[in-house]
């Protein structure tokens, strides 16, 4: 199955990766090679085989519903990115993270 430039752009958008036209065509060639490799799977008859998502057949553990972690907001906010758009400050204010306005 052949990929098109449009497919690459659509997938890049879904993955939230900006991609230029030049990068999209270079990516198309490489991804087509990789998908060609992956296509080998289609020759295998897998009728009735239970998919394996994990090597150990385990169920999730449950734990008591108690507090195990304390708030470390100040420590974590030291790793905030620089705000950008002309500001060299960290993208935090009053304990919150700053992003462009999303609600009008």
């Amino acid at each position: 199955m052949a990929l098109s430039i449009e497919d690459i752009k659509k997938v890049a958008h879904l993955a939230r990766l900006e991609i230029s036209d030049a990068d999209a065509s270079a990516t198309l060639a490489k991804l087509s090679g990789i998908l060609g490799l992956i296509e080998q799977m289609q020759a295998v008859d897998t009728t009735g085989i239970v998919p394996m998502s994990h090597s150990q057949d385990l169920s999730q553990r449950l734990r008591d519903d108690i507090v195990t972690k304390t708030n470390q907001r100040e420590v974590f906010q030291k790793n905030a990115p620089v705000l950008g758009n002309g500001s060299a400050e960290l993208a935090v204010a009053e304990g919150l993270y700053l992003v462009p306005k999303v609600i009008e």
Partner: protein, 473 residues
């Protein structure tokens, strides 16, 4: 690696730090060093030793792959995305080493987000193979590999999602072990493909790896896939003779694609095992060839999900100029990730996208079971499986960097054990054209102690693991 009082941990740490200062500008194995922190740990270790509270790794300088969060240390995963990230907490593996008084010698270079087989995808530049500076050390744990090979640490940690401990161990000539999935906690280890990622030791000898495993392995409730098993002593079986050991040789590991020089070294290693009393059994792992296609569906799918957390909001790279939130996400991610990481995110997003899930993801999970069943059948006939760890010796930098499919084939012999969740190791077995070759030993689930025994007995009658590259004296 046992701590005698002939040398203090501070002296040992200083020795390694000065070796690093001398050789690292050339090799580029370490991407973060903190002399004050390392020496403070060494000093504390000396106090423990003086108080008679030493354990085998107390005071031993260990290099940590930069995929493990270590509080107060830069933790970048080899990516521009995390170039300014300072870990606010310790990974379980780091906590375990701290608890026995080991010294964190520094953070080692790696392929970006552990995606690569040559260390060439690192934002911080490639790593040179100490055996030949024109060649790659393998990947993704390339910095740890070069550090062990060039004696820039006593031992190192690595992680292995598709071969990232064993392939560099083979290319750099030392002993590396990927444990059974779930044996070492992934807490604080930056996620690539969560159903495959597993941390393990990289060291000179099997005995050193066993001592490392005693520290690294164990239940941790903070990792939902950590297995709640009794603590093991991985050194317990080292001295056992190998008489009667059944060694399975999968014919698929010796077929087309294996370099002849590598094949010869592996044949000689098998002959040495016969002398040690092993019986050779021909086995088949018929679905080996499918492991790469399956892996390149499952690992990118899991990666595309895991790496969606890097959005430039709370940590990591944020683009300098943006209009709205979507623009900020798309630009930050496009700038923060390198080409190979983006490729894998795109593949993963594609195979998981509407209409393709059954044809790719589900199909890959079904074949994953077939691959795992091959091993179940094989282990009815043998105790361990042996073969090459990598299809060739170290290749030249730049040789495969533009051909992802050729690069992916580096992991043809290692990926199937990750898919099955089995333990695997690479043990130095000789040289081809002056470059190291690793023998792979694959064990059944939780059979690490036996594998270490099998490797250790070989290392009692060979000295390949003691060979050192020239120019690093």
């Amino acid at each position: 690696m046992l701590q005698t009082k002939k040398i203090s941990s501070v002296e040992l740490t200083q020795t390694f730090l000065s070796r690093i200062a001398q050789h690292n500008p050339n090799i580029n194995a370490y991407i973060a060093l903190d002399e004050a922190k390392s020496l403070a740990q060494a000093k504390a270790a000396d106090a423990l030793i003086a108080a008679g509270k030493a354990e085998p790794l107390t005071g031993i300088p260990i290099a940590q792959k930069d995929i493990f969060c270590a509080e107060g240390w830069p933790t970048t995963c080899g990516s521009k995305m995390l170039a300014n990230f300072v870990a606010p907490y310790d990974a379980h593996v780091i906590t375990q080493f701290d608890a026995v008084g080991a010294v964190n010698l520094g953070k080692t270079n790696m392929d970006e987000f552990a995606m690569g087989s040559s260390n060439e995808t690192s934002y911080f530049g490639g790593v040179k193979n100490p055996w030949d500076a024109e060649r790659v050390p393998g990947g993704s744990s390339g910095g740890s590999a070069a550090a062990v090979a060039a004696r820039l640490c006593a031992a190192a940690t690595g992680t292995d999602t598709g071969g990232s401990i064993r392939q560099p161990a083979s290319l750099c000539g030392f002993t590396g072990l990927k444990p059974t999935y779930g044996v070492v906690s992934r807490y604080g280890m930056i996620a690539f493909a969560s159903s495959l990622d597993q941390a393990g030791p990289m060291a000179k000898s099997a005995e050193d790896c066993a001592l490392m495993m005693n520290v690294m392995a164990g239940f941790d409730e903070r990792d939902s896939t950590s297995l709640n098993r009794d603590k093991e002593d991985y050194t317990r079986d080292l001295a056992k003779p190998l008489q009667g050991l059944r060694v399975g040789l999968p014919k698929e590991f010796f077929a087309e694609g294996l370099d002849a020089g590598v094949g010869k070294v592996i044949d000689e290693a098998i002959a040495a095992y016969k002398k040690l009393g092993a019986e050779i059994v021909e086995i088949s792992l018929p679905n080996t060839g499918l492991s790469i296609p399956v892996y390149y569906v499952l690992a990118p799918a899991e990666a595309s999900s895991n790496l969606s957390r890097y959005d430039g909001v709370r940590y990591g790279h944020r683009t300098a100029e943006y209009t709205d939130l979507l623009d900020m996400y798309c630009k930050s991610r496009a700038e923060g990730f390198g080409a190979e990481v983006k490729r894998r995110i795109l593949i993963g997003t594609y195979v998981l996208s509407a209409g393709y899930y059954d044809a790719y993801y589900l199909k890959a999970q079904q074949i994953r079971r077939l691959i795992a069943q091959d091993f179940v059948e094989a282990f009815k006939q043998c105790d361990v499986i042996m073969g090459p760890a990598a299809p060739s010796t170290a290749f030249k930098a730049g040789e495969k960097v533009d051909d992802p499919v050729a690069m992916y084939l580096q992991d043809i012999y290692t990926i199937s054990t990750n898919l099955a969740g089995l333990p695997g190791m690479s043990v130095p077995a000789g040289f081809s054209n002056g470059l190291p070759v690793g023998l792979q030993i694959i064990g059944n689930y939780f059979d690490e102690a036996r594998m270490l025994n099998v490797a250790h007995q070989y290392q009692q009658v060979t000295d390949w693991h003691l060979q050192m590259p020239q120019g690093i004296e």
